[in-house]
């Protein structure tokens, strides 16, 4: 498989016809029943969550809601969650733990929302809490990056037993645009930034950040959403089958180790 550049992939994931969770959920799950609200403040339309059957197995689905057009995007705040979105995700993850249901997170976000209300309601705390709680959640968690995996806003749904990226999906600490504007004071250098940052699915595999790359339809998922959805189902099925058979203590130990070993450092000699 020849590598497509990060810059080209930036274009692919911005393609107006790239499938979103609204397309994928009915193709992958059955009887999806949406559940709303964080029980404290409100219901965040940027994160959709609910119950469904996956290949006959009851699961909890938590997903960022990218819109397919401007109206849908306005309704879901361009998939940029507020704290109540992360708190809804945590509530339903805890519920999944109670009923021993696997959790499937579908990630597609530019990042957490930056605004006054988000700060007032503790955006940082909400994300931090998810990281800590997901790390010790006693049920399998599989996360899949469908398009954009933007920084802490993506990570809040990506502490998991197995992380997969769609072939053209990107995962980064900051958007290439943001990276360029900080480092070179010029956001238009985003393609250069994208190349430098190591953000593609192959990079994630090499860096030990993700476990699997899910192939997309030839030329990108938008060319054949159905076959891409089937690929997602196949990969997801293999992982869920394996993880539900794993002893929960082993699962948690492996999850901890998966993140524990990420980092590159050395020691200066005296």
């Amino acid at each position: 498989m020849s590598r497509i550049s990060a810059a080209k992939r930036l274009e692919l994931i911005r393609n107006k016809n790239r499938p979103t969770v609204n397309d994928y959920i009915p193709m992958i799950f059955h009887n999806f029943t949406q559940l709303h609200g964080d029980r404290y403040y409100g219901d965040d339309p940027a994160i959709m969550a609910g119950l469904a059957f996956f290949m006959g197995i009851p699961v909890t689905v938590i997903a960022h809601v990218k819109g397919r057009d401007i109206d849908e995007n306005k309704r879901s705040n361009f998939a940029m969650p507020h704290p109540e979105g992360y708190r809804k995700a945590l509530r339903l993850a805890k519920q999944a733990e109670k009923f021993r249901r696997p959790v499937v997170c579908l990630i597609d976000t530019p990042g957490a929302f930056c605004g006054i209300e988000a700060e007032k309601r503790g955006q940082g705390e909400a994300i931090a809490k998810n990281l800590m709680e997901f790390m010790s959640l006693r049920t399998p968690i599989v996360s899949i990056v469908l398009g954009e995996g933007g920084s802490g806003g993506a990570l809040a749904l990506a502490v998991c037993d197995e992380l997969m990226l769609l072939e053209n999906a990107l995962y980064s600490v900051i958007s290439p645009r943001g990276f360029a504007s900080i480092l070179w004071k010029d956001p238009t250098l985003e393609t250069q930034a994208a190349e430098l940052m190591k953000i593609t699915s192959e990079d994630m595999l090499e860096l030990g950040v993700c476990e699997k790359i899910i192939p997309e339809a030839e030329g990108g998922a938008h060319n054949d959403p159905q076959s891409t959805a089937e690929n997602i189902s196949d990969f997801l099925f293999e992982a869920v089958q394996r993880l539900i058979k794993t002893d929960v203590d082993v699962l948690l130990k492996n999850r901890y180790e998966k993140f524990r070993k990420i980092g590159m450092f050395s020691f200066v000699h005296e």
């Binding site: 361009f78 940029m80 990042g111 957490a112 930056c114 605004g115 006054i116 988000a118 700060e119 007032k120 309601r121 503790g122 955006q123 940082g124 705390e125 994300i127 931090a128 809490k129 990281l131 800590m132 709680e133 790390m135 010790s136 933007g150 920084s151 802490g152 990570l155 809040a156 990506a158 502490v159 995962y171 980064s172 600490v173 900051i174 958007s175 645009r177 943001g178 990276f179 504007s181 900080i182 480092l183 956001p187 430098l196 940052m197 190591k198 953000i199 994630m204 860096l207 950040v209 901890y256 993140f259 524990r260 980092g263 590159m264 450092f265 050395s266 020691f267 200066v268 000699h269 005296e270």
Partner: protein, 295 residues
């Protein structure tokens, strides 16, 4: 807008002010006529003689802004004399994404800041109580979190979990370290996992949020303390002020994302003056049944 600048934070915000006013007390800043003899408060613009300001633990006598300390200054006013034993002081960053000149920058800062990284960790006593401690130093790459910060914090919690010890972290950070790409983001998950285990061992974790605590550090270990203390007037938040301003296109109140703002909104337990910090910390350790060390 969007995530562009999720982690672009304080540095820019304060650069503005720097340009308008005089430099922060950083020795490598270009000296102006009064040189290092004057402190000019970045919050209220009041000036004071550097000597007085330093005697006052680097707190602005006029507005009570608790300005930034080096790790060494923080250690000196926190730990019992001679009690500190450092962990992993020789751990240094590598360059996971091959970022141009990253190693050069690190080694220059290592000399300037007298530490190999943005956090110094170890063990000490505070008014006789044994604690495991981490001190972040914003003079080192804005105390951004990369592999070394993540690893040192994680090891700190693992050490404390194993020995049933309390952890105290003085947080300060501009966020994730972009130069390490996705690896820096993963440190948020790694540290939070280590805290989860420390929790399961039912040990106390205290965070002290100092100026500035933002981005990925706010969104991970800094927000996970059993008790969260903030220093007066410290900037604490997730997103950068300018990013928010660009999004909403309206003026933000001066106290937005201040320690006081967080207290009002329920995200910190208390705001504690530097003078009383040791007393408060030791009282918290005592109430959690940790024992004073025998002389």
């Amino acid at each position: 807008m969007g995530l562009e600048d999720l982690f672009k934070t304080v540095r820019d915000r304060f650069k503005d002010k720097d340009e308008k006013s005089s430099p922060l007390p950083e020795t490598h800043k270009k000296p102006e006529i009064p040189g290092n003899l004057l402190f000019k408060c970045p919050r209220c613009r009041a000036t004071a003689y550097m000597e007085e300001f330093e005697k006052n633990r680097k707190v602005c006598a006029h507005c009570d802004y608790h300005s930034r300390l080096t790790w060494r200054e923080r250690l000196d006013i926190t730990a019992d004399k001679g009690s500190f034993r450092e962990f992993d002081g020789d751990m240094v960053s590598m360059n996971p994404i091959g970022f141009p000149d990253y190693e050069k920058k690190i080694s220059r800062l290592s000399c300037e800041c007298k530490t190999n990284e943005a956090v110094v960790t170890g063990e000490c006593t505070i008014q006789g109580y044994r604690a495991v401690i981490g001190i972040m130093d914003s003079h080192f790459m804005m105390a951004s979190m990369g592999s070394v910060v993540g690893e040192k914090i994680t090891r700190l919690f693992e050490y404390a979990t194993e020995r049933k010890l309390p952890v105290i972290i003085f947080a300060a950070s501009g966020g994730a370290r972009m130069q390490e790409g996705i690896i820096s983001l993963m440190q948020m998950a790694k540290t939070s996992g280590a805290i989860a285990r420390h929790n399961e061992a039912r040990q106390l974790y205290i965070t002290v949020l100092t100026d500035p605590t933002t981005g990925g550090v706010t969104a991970s270990f800094a927000s996970l303390g059993d008790v969260i203390i903030a220093e007066p007037k410290a900037l604490i938040g997730f997103a950068g002020r300018r990013v928010i301003q660009d999004t909403i296109k309206q003026h933000l109140p001066d106290d937005f994302q201040s320690a006081e703002f967080l207290l009002e909104n329920g995200f910190v337990d208390m705001i504690t003056d530097r003078k009383r910090m040791r007393k408060i910390l030791s009282r918290l350790l005592k109430v959690h049944n940790y024992r004073k060390q025998e002389e």
